[in-house]
């Protein structure tokens, strides 16, 4: 969205290379910056920002909505991936452990699962059932849908960090194959959200992929919403 040239590379040890242990991270010159917040600040310090045109109240709203997405959508995604036994067995463990040989794949997967479950317990999500989590996702999507309304982006004509964050989460939810389709159904209930994702995908990803000498992984990772 900022029109910055970027090359996407997939690595198995990405989590270990990152300074904060979390992906994604960017490698620019001799600097490494990880996670969305710091990356946005870094890019802003270099002179590119998407939210300069917003006034103070709108910036406060944008930050609040970003926290909502982080709080609800991200936690729900983590819950579904790591705390729902069926999904864990069939999808998450094989996927997380796939770059490694046995027994490392099992050990690392269990270690990550234990870490995530501890975190869920600390914030009180461990006691939630899958239905409650899905209901929370529904509430969050409803809030996002109402905020978006009929506008092209959340803050009218220009995309901002919030649009990027929401697109990232919703696109992943809509295109990842899970054991059940309940999560993506919750998002599909809101037509303006799916239209929003489709619009961003068409505008920013299909054009760029043609210029990209992109790796095979990047091309296979691109799953179109227009199924």
């Amino acid at each position: 969205m900022c029109n910055l040239p970027v090359r996407v590379v997939c690595r198995a040890n990405a989590e270990y290379m990152s300074p904060s242990g979390k992906v994604p991270f960017i490698h620019v010159g001799n600097q490494v910056v990880s996670e969305l917040g710091p990356i946005v600040q870094f890019v802003k310090a270099k002179g590119h920002s998407l939210s300069d045109g917003l006034d103070e109240v709108q910036k406060a709203e944008m930050k609040a909505y970003m926290e909502l997405v982080n709080n609800m959508l991200l936690t729900a995604e983590l819950y579904l991936q790591w705390c729902d036994d069926v999904t864990v067995e069939e999808i998450t463990h094989p996927r997380y452990g796939s770059p490694y040989p046995w027994p490392l794949n099992r050990i690392l997967a269990y270690q990550k699962q234990w870490e995530i479950r501890r975190k869920m317990k600390a914030i009180g999500w461990a006691g939630k059932s899958l239905e409650q989590v899905l209901e929370d996702v529904d509430q969050c999507c409803q809030a996002l849908s109402q905020r978006l309304g009929t506008q092209p982006y959340f803050f009218n004509k220009q995309p901002t960090e919030l649009d990027a964050l929401v697109f990232g989460h919703l696109f992943t939810i809509l295109t990842t194959q899970l054991t059940t389709d309940e999560l993506s159904e919750k998002v599909k209930n809101y037509g303006n959200l799916t239209a929003f994702c489709r619009r961003i995908e068409q505008q920013y990803f299909e054009g760029h992929d043609k210029d990209n000498s992109g790796t095979a992984a990047a091309r296979s990772a691109k799953r179109s919403l227009l199924r």
């Binding site: 609040a64 600390a122 809030a143 905020r147």
Partner: protein, 312 residues
Amino acid sequence: MAAPMELSCWGGDWGLPSLHPESLTVMAYAKFSGAPLTVNTINNSWRTPKGDVPVLISEDTVISQPAKILNFLRKQKYNADYELSAKQGADTLAYIALLEEKLLPALLHTFWVEAENYCSVTKPWFASRIPFPLSLYLPGKMSREALNRILLTKGGPPLYSLTEVEAQIYRDAKECLNLLSKRLGTSQFFFGNTPTTLDAFVFGFLAPVYKVCFPRVQLQEHLKQLPNLCRFCDDILTCYFRLTVSGHSPSGQDTADANLQKLTQLVNKESNLIEKMDDNLRKSPQHPPRKLTTLKLAAGGEESSPLNRLSP
């Protein structure tokens, strides 16, 4: 609709009906929506707090988390968000998420993790309200849970030590307070002139920071530099927790408007004057709230010691 509802929660001090942010949120919402709630503060009896606090008991249903309690009250037709548009409802959710992510860790830290605060204020206060021998164990458990929560949610690399995590969470909390202040601006409540769920949550989180006298008070000092948030807390305290006549808030507010204007002028002076104003208001002749008499009697005994600490 008239089924009596009981709320069990932590009691209050320093001019607040409760010290616990979640209990305060539920109480504030009940006042805003006019729900008739009998408040039972947890005290030295053998009805010990089991599991989550606050707990709402209505007939046979027991509900424990603030979000679920508010949902239940809304289903019983006590809805403070009736006049909000869909977008405002969405904004409410977003700002509540902001509070939980950015302000709550610092609040937990100030109350439960900061050693001086915990040992001199929080632990004795809570221990005095829990029967022996649980009073030896429960405050420590709450402190460990708070630290755990902070470390697990905020403490990953590149923040490797507790001091770095502390610095980060206080930075986040101050930014959150600034954002709330900008959003509130000069209006009386967050969505116009009537208080809503968001006001209840903001009040629940801000009032303990604002009123409780701790030895280490960096968050309180930052809050006092944002006069519109201080005015917001004081308004709710005076309108809804002192002057209510029959638990139906709007009628109490009409009679308090004249008092409110005077109060708003005085609130703009230094923070010491605000605390003295609270005392003056309590002594002045007004309708005493029927439901809160037990709270006031219980709080009356402890007020002398914080006041002594305040006087130079």
